[in-house]
């Protein structure tokens, strides 16, 4: 059983990214409407928007949190070719704005000549480092030498990936046996350029990032890439969202000699590959114990993947915004229809987002929409929080 709760995001265009902070109590969303919103979970479990501000002069593609050790810090990246670092200001706020927090821009990183498509903070043990990748195929690694001064960032590395980059992910492993590693996904639509995922590794001797591995089997544009939380593993697990969901396992091979300077060699295994979305997969996300992978695609569904004890990955649940588990197990909660969709939107002031409720489709296995939708000019997004309970896929997990 899982329950879905929708939040009226009130963004004026599509939401492109949702990001939880380190402790899972804050959430940031970013949208094409050039704004970022910060949501805080109240004691009652409700998410409340505590800040909303215009961040860029173009679509904001991604938003990400820094480790709380560095303060309440966000980074965003945008179509307007910049990335920005934001810090929450604590202190005396006037009573009128109680419950609202104030974020100020600490820096703007303007090195890219094209749209900045992803921004990520490096793992905490590396210090305060920020990575961006852009549509012209350059990955840039910045460092704040003084963690107390968030307005000074120096460009440490520039990695040229040739093709347009869409996403990056740091290897979260804190082991000293694993040198800093970053995976880059590329979204060039030309299938003949194979190897849409590249792994770069820091070389202590040359003090540069060098290509360690190219996943040649990934030939379609990659939309999202995420390393699983490491949790003391000796190998790395990488989830990729392309035209399907893929899970790769990278096992570092022992070096022949201790002082060989080349990049680590990896044994690359495909652990799983699923095309159940039947469409482009846009996002993949690991849970904290890296036992559960969630993916979302153009079919409007979120699918959950889990490995059984044989290391076979299986779909353990399909989530839709309507809360009806598609695999049929579990029972839908009692519903009350408010009205037909069209009418509900007319209900001015009833609820802020014009929420409406319709009964679940009779055949939940069918694609949520088979008929082409009328073209929407202004697209809006909704946020759903799914609470996932084991019972919903007890039947399907091995």
């Amino acid at each position: 059983m899982f329950v879905a709760k929708s939040i009226a995001a009130d963004h004026k265009d599509l939401i492109h990214d949702v990001s939880y902070d380190f402790h899972g109590r804050r959430m940031a969303t970013c949208s094409s409407d050039q704004s970022v919103k910060v949501w805080d979970k109240g004691d009652d479990g409700e998410w409340r928007c505590t800040a909303s501000w215009k961040t860029h002069s173009g679509s904001v593609w991604r938003v990400t949190w820094a480790h709380p050790e560095f303060g309440q810090v966000l980074a965003s990246c945008s179509f307007d070719r910049t990335a920005a670092v934001w810090e929450e200001i604590v202190g005396e706020s006037n009573d009128k704005q109680r419950g609202q927090s104030h974020w100020i821009k600490r820096t703007t990183l303007v090195d890219s000549r094209t749209s900045v498509t992803d921004v990520k903070f490096a793992p905490k043990h590396m210090g305060l480092m920020l990575t961006t990748c852009s549509a012209d195929g350059v990955v840039r690694i910045y460092e704040a030498p003084d963690v107390m001064n968030l307005s000074q960032w120096s460009l440490q590395h520039e990695i040229s990936c040739k093709l347009s980059c869409s996403c990056i992910s740091w290897n979260p492993s804190s082991s000293r046996a694993h040198p800093p590693m970053i995976a880059v996904g590329r979204d060039d639509s030309n299938v003949t350029y194979s190897g849409k995922v590249q792994i770069y590794e820091y070389n202590e001797n040359t003090r540069k990032y060098a290509k360690a591995e190219t996943l040649m089997t990934v030939t379609d544009p990659v939309h999202d890439i995420t390393f699983a939380p490491n949790l003391g593993r000796s190998f790395h697990v990488l989830a990729i969202a392309t035209k399907d969901v893929r899970i790769f396992k990278l096992v570092p091979l022992r070096r022949e000699s201790a002082n060989s300077s080349g990049p680590t060699k990896f044994e690359v295994q495909v652990m799983a590959q699923f095309d159940s979305h039947n469409s482009q997969v846009w996002r993949v996300s690991w849970n904290i114990t890296s036992t559960l992978l969630a993916s979302s695609g153009d079919d409007g569904c979120v699918r959950l993947w889990k490995a059984n004890y044989m290391d076979n990955w299986k779909c353990t649940g399909i989530l839709r915004g309507d809360g009806s588990p598609v695999n049929g197990s579990g029972h839908a909660a009692p519903l009350s229809a408010v009205g037909v969709p069209g009418a509900a939107q007319m209900l001015v002031g009833a609820t802020s987002a014009g929420r409406y409720v319709t009964p679940p489709s009779s055949n939940p296995l069918a694609a949520p929409f088979s008929s082409p939708l009328p073209p929407l000019i202004l697209a809006h997004s909704k946020i759903f929080i799914f609470y996932i309970f084991k019972a919903s896929f007890l039947g399907s997990v091995e």
């Binding site: 059983m1 879905a4 492109h16 046996a177 003391g232 000796s234 114990t289 409007g300 979120v302 929080i385």
Partner: protein, 716 residues
Amino acid sequence: MEKMSRVSTIGGRTVFCHLDAPANAISVCRDATQVVVAGRNIFKIYGLEEDGFVERLNLRVGRKPSLNFSCADVMWHQMEENLLATAATNGAVVTWNLARPCRNKQEQLFTEHKRTVNKVCFHPTEVNMLLSGSQDGFMKCFDLRKKESVSTFSGQSESVRDVQFSIKDYFTFAASFENGNVQLWDIRRPDRYERMFTAHTGPVFCCDWHPEDRGWLATGGRDKMVKVWDMSTNCVKEIYCVQTIASVARVKWRPERRYHLATCSMMVDHNIYVWDVRRPFIPFATFEEHKDVTTGIVWRHQHDPYYLLSGSKDSTLYQHMFKDASRPIDRANPEGLCFGLFGDLAFAAKESLMSGELVIELQKTNNHKQPDFLKDESQFQESTTWTMLRIMFSEPANPSLSSNHNLNKSGNLPLVNSFSMKEMSTALNERNKENRQDNLHSLETNLNNNDENEETEGSEGQAEYLFGDAELDDDDLYSMEHDNQAAEEPEYLLPQEAFPLRHEIMDHPSAPEPVQEKPESPHVSGSEAESTCLTSMESFSLISVSQLLFSPHLPPKFFCPIVKKMLCYYAKQGDVQMAVSVLIVLGKRIRKEIDELTQEHWYMSYIDLLQRFELWNVSNEVIKLSTCGAIMCLNQASTTLHINCSNCKRPMSNKGWICDRCHQCASVCAVCHHVVKGLFVWCQGCSHGGHLEHVMEWLKQSKHCPAGCGHLCEYT
């Protein structure tokens, strides 16, 4: 019909040609077969052929062309196909007649403006009327049949950046200014503008009348915005606003598409964007061919929306086809997905994707009936692991164990297979009586709390770890609510790959039973403490194991490779908690078997996990108890306490209790005047403090400092 036939003659693809010099402006003739390119050093006419541009005519003639050829703007007359007008940077307005027989096609020269002319504009329907706007702040209307201007309009503002005749209203034209204003003029009334409004902050670089909608004017400015104004009513209304990423140099409505317009920028951004003004945040289409600033854009034909011509500072002239444009919206990620720590998954998606949305409030009733068989194999595995570990290492005959005071004695190894925390704590308490190892007790309590997913509600002092319990194990990601009643556990077969096992073990993690029964333990070790923890069923299952596996002369080292293998297995499964717990409990016995780097990695991962769940106390406990050097020093690095002496209120510089300035003991309780050993709380304002309980008591009575210094103390 005529319109359609004309449009259909246009063919071609995305083509470009190199110019000799950067272009400043381009314009097409009415039948869309030729384009004129004008710039500081270029003035040429190109023919548009099926397979590209063909140079037709170079208008820049003469050995040393005069400044009149240096064009800021050019316009091809839309009715008279031989007539062109240019705005020269020296302030001249020049008309050109292509029908002239000689090489120099220049027809008329108006040198009335004093500074650069920014814009020229022919009247859309009146053949002989030409309008110009200049940097000197004046607009002039010329009759091409006369030698000089017929009327001059003074904006009383700053420089004129753009002038445009209205397409629908015969007498009206719009002018945009560097101070952000837009003025509407009636061509018959040169004394005063009809209307004026401030459109942008900063210069308004361009404006364009909508070809269909009367009174719609699009303006673009240095403030990076494109605004659409409706002037059909009495008050000017901003109806759309598009925010672009750079200052807007040109704006052109797209033919046949009511809400589309094309823009280009004069700085930084080299792309051409086509916007749907109803969706002001993402460009509808983008042309990314130019390598330098795009200076001129024009739709090839006034009724054809698929071809766009552009000239650029990079000395190229492009014909863009709409089907080759990149569509940012198609590449934009329409979804956001993120896993939270508490098993919640945030998902943002396009509303159209979520057909038939439902909003279900969190329903606790539905998930309250957590199945009792939730504790599936992995948990069972863990419990069995602990049992095995105990058997392996709890041999009393081993002198190395019993002699080591700090390590766990046999009874102290956590018995995880007793599945009720109540029983656990009782057992612990009992053991405690026997060997008062408070330290170890707390360790075990912590460990047990984290290791198992028990009903902690029953035990005292455990509640604070409930969160950790609920979250740390992946199975519990799904269980928000714990069941209070541990029911009968079904039988399980231990999965084969748990760790090297030689037998199948049937275990029955049973319901809590009164521990007082103290069933006889037939275990070889026969320790009393141990047996109290075992229910009859368990001990039964243990007998078989212990008797087969265990003979007294086997040293614990014998098992180390197995344990190591097991720990690696858990780490591989991502259950770093188990690995770290075993490391801590076994301490020295296993430490040497696993290399330092791996241990450190496990510890770090586990501590990171604990900190994510804000289990600071537990993580601190782990750091304290760790046997790994790099971890132990974690707490010693970057932790500094700055203390003031409570007597002289100056910073304490040396270590120890005595202040080196006033030579008195710095940490004296202000209430009882004794030296505080252990927990010392103090006010950061006045440096006075004392025993925690004394200060708490004092603060109930008074807000002032107990030392009598008059400070209103604040303890946070």
